[in-house]
């Protein structure tokens, strides 16, 4: 499967998806670490893709997303943003709402 197709499928199949460096338990970048911690603190299950293990996604996703850096949080098929946006939304309580709503949809589907 070509990389863009793979990315589209991942985004379509996972309501809450974090593209990051490393894993939530063993992040390889401070920004990915912060982002995954905020997401974990929302208390819902989420999917992640370690882009260091997937160099094809690492090179193609920024073009597809029109977003140059990682991490990238995708919710309901849309790019929410990177670490700074995730943190700011978390501090405002907006991330928790967004994630809870997306998780509820995933269950009911």
């Amino acid at each position: 499967m070509d990389t863009i197709e793979k990315i589209k499928e991942q985004i379509a199949e996972n309501n809450i998806l974090l593209y990051m460096k490393g894993s939530p338990k063993l992040p390889s970048c401070g920004f990915s670490s912060q982002a995954s911690q905020a997401l974990m603190a929302c208390g819902e299950k989420f999917a992640f893709v370690d882009i260091l293990q997937n160099p094809d996604i690492r090179s193609e996703l920024p073009k597809y997303a029109d977003w140059p850096t990682f991490p990238q949080l995708w919710v309901d098929g849309e790019l929410v943003g990177g670490c700074d946006i995730i943190m700011e939304m978390y501090q405002q309580g907006e991330l928790q709402t967004l994630i809870k709503e997306a998780a509820a949809k995933q269950v009911s589907e």
Partner: protein, 107 residues
């Protein structure tokens, strides 16, 4: 011209910011001394009025597309409108500690 000053110049031109900080944070990362790879930008501009964070970040990424492609590895963005900046500092004013008497303090 340093990457730092290119970022400054482009953001000043594009957003007419009321406040702009471009901070080279590369020394906090695993790169050679003197690198210009990791930056933090704090920008206050009324161009951001009514725009969600993702749109603001996309606008900045577009202005710095060449630098992001060629030089910048990480770019932390903190974007505010004048009102947001004012509200933020109203709640988080960095206060200096009060004097406790110093040398004139009676024992």
């Amino acid at each position: 011209m340093t990457v730092e000053s290119i970022i400054e110049e482009k953001l000043l031109a594009a957003f007419s910011p009321l406040h702009l900080d471009v901070i080279n944070e590369s020394h906090q990362h695993n790169v050679a001394p003197g690198s210009e790879s990791h930056f933090k930008v704090i920008i206050v501009s009324n161009n951001f009025e009514g725009e969600r964070l993702i749109k603001r970040h996309r606008a900045i990424n577009a202005v710095l597309a060449t630098e992001l492609a060629e030089k910048i590895h990480a770019l932390a963005l903190h974007t505010y409108t004048e009102k947001e900046w004012h509200d933020y500092y109203e709640e988080n004013t960095p206060l200096s500690p009060k004097c406790l008497g110093g040398s004139k303090k009676s024992a």
